[in-house]
Symmetry: C2
Subunit: 341 residues, 2 copies
């Protein structure tokens, strides 16, 4: 495992954060690979993701007969999301901002910190910004906030706006957690196991797809019954206040929110993006419907839409789908970045 570095900065939170404009001592956990003189690639983490969760993808773009983005040729940066437990998060921040007192940070905050880190690292431009789920939404936010900074962005299983349906799904997950008998308004002394399990049980139905359940694909993972699978994989993980912060960020993913001067004009905000964009939803994603991505692509100057025909729902975008799904993703990213489309 690479060593985790920390970029620290006294940082002013965005006007959309709570409290708005707070001066906050933020730190960003990150990894780098390769030489800073090479073209740069940035991989952000996803919801409840650790830096190490990007390893399978790093492996996929570095192996095979013709690796897409070998570390020998690309300076690769991996950044942790605020709330992910490595970067500043409720779980790792001292008073007065620890636990439930942590400020509510936005995508804008994450992106500005990542940009500042890149400057510190001497990165003038990103050859590619590639993200899954909350990482994909970060790709949109980075390309919008710093249009000249990103040459190519890849957005996997995500959208430029958090739809109202998606917002409502998260609201349900949130209530399952905050209503639990062990959450204590975030002032728990021990992990609120009941709340985290309830949260995960609600999450699981959204993260996968009806087709995944119809095909009983937990059996492919070695579980005899669905209940065994749930017990092993969806019984709570992460810190509750961290999860709630990430949900908060996610719920406020609507990209126009950060450009009040665009007056909610979605086309206008997306029109800011200069990067070439590869938009890859999963056909069966219940959080992010492909039709929302098709709508987005209409407003992108240089956007391509490639849908992953997977039964693994949202998780397909993160490489947790079938072997063919992963091969499809890598193949389409290769063609997008290097031609032969």
């Amino acid at each position: 495992m690479p060593e985790t570095n920390f970029f620290e900065q006294l940082f002013t939170l965005s006007p959309q954060s709570e409290p708005a404009g707070l001066e906050f001592p933020a730190k960003l956990g990150f990894w780098t690979f390769g030489s800073q003189s090479n073209p740069a690639v940035l991989l952000p983490t996803c919801f409840n993701g650790q830096l190490s969760d990007t390893l399978p993808f790093l492996y996929a773009i570095n192996h095979g007969s013709e690796p897409i983005l070998p570390l020998s040729k690309y300076f690769t940066v991996v950044t942790g999301l605020l709330g992910g437990g490595e970067s500043s998060s409720p779980s790792n921040t001292p008073e007065p901002y620890g636990g439930p007192n942590f400020p509510r940070t936005t995508y804008n905050d994450n992106i500005r910190l990542q940009h500042a880190l890149c400057q510190r690292l001497g990165v003038k431009k990103l050859f590619a910004y590639i993200g899954f789920s909350m990482g994909g939404q970060q790709a949109y936010h980075m390309s919008t906030l710093s249009p000249d900074f990103v040459e190519n962005m890849v957005c996997l299983a995500r959208s430029a706006r958090t739809s109202w349906h998606n917002w409502n799904v998260l609201e349900g997950m949130k209530h399952a957690l905050i209503s639990s008998s062990d959450f204590h308004d975030g002032h728990y002394q021990e992990p609120p196991k009941k709340g985290l399990r309830a949260f995960d049980r609600v999450f699981s139905s959204w993260a996968l797809s009806p087709a995944w359940f119809r095909q009983m694909l937990w059996e492919l993972l070695g579980f005899k019954t669905l209940e065994e699978y749930l017990d092993a994989c969806w019984s709570g993980s992460g810190d509750a206040n961290d999860l709630l912060l990430m949900l908060w960020t996610w719920q406020r993913g609507e990209i126009t929110l950060y450009y009040p001067e665009d007056e909610g004009d979605f086309a206008k905000t997306l029109g800011r993006i200069k990067a070439r964009c590869l938009i890859m939803p999963s056909r069966t994603d219940q959080f992010f419907q492909p039709e929302d991505n098709e709508e987005e692509v209409k407003h992108l100057n240089r956007g391509e839409f490639r849908c992953i025909d997977s039964v693994y729902g949202h998780l397909a975008g993160g490489g947790a789908g079938a072997k063919e799904d992963r091969e499809f993703i890598i193949d389409k990213i290769r063609r997008f970045l290097f031609g032969d489309l």
Copy 2:
């Protein structure tokens, strides 16, 4: 409002109930309309539905220039689901079976009680059994258990088996409720408001559809914001133990479970049905996918599939969709029952 009658019987629960085969003093809340000498129609209630929730449908089949099923020509029976709060339920049953000690009853129990009621009322045959949601699943169970008793069944927004995905969705809703700080393992003295609200917030995203949220249809209902709508409509209703009993029944909706001799052969169990069947899913139902219904219809001796092209998700099947959705439902039931198909 008609007077509610109660059919009471010392009743042996099904082998699939818990405790299996318990002798239980059950009561079934019901309404009747019209003369017992007329052909009979039975309308069961849905999940968390009261007898009065069938009134809009009763109105729809009794009004217009040519009412489909006028009370003057059909003996109409409305029955309440066990756990619905009118029939035997955790909330209305004295010790030793009150609250969390209420037995876990199955569709089979509901159907045998309804059948016994019909015998008491002198009904030899049902011209039609029409149900929405858990009512639709009851239609399947009645037609399978008593094949010669039902001439026509209409199943709205439901399937003959509770899919694993559906089971898992309910598992999430259940955990949101039972993990709450005010549920107290079902021994609450006051309604567990937090738990019921969490339950409803999770439920709301499943009951409607992404398209409904995309079109912000809460505005059509007179709400300015989604949060106002949630506060008014999805902040908890019903008794928590009652809801959990109904969920338990729903989770064990798999029809082959009740015919062990069929050894899980779905086609064989559905092949028992002699009734003509009208199967009407909603195109955007997230609980019950139309493709599952298409699969079912292949195994029905006389099944018809008519999909409601609605953005109202599951709720469209209960008449809570657009005016055109309701008209489509009534028109298709008319043609199904009386020709011109």
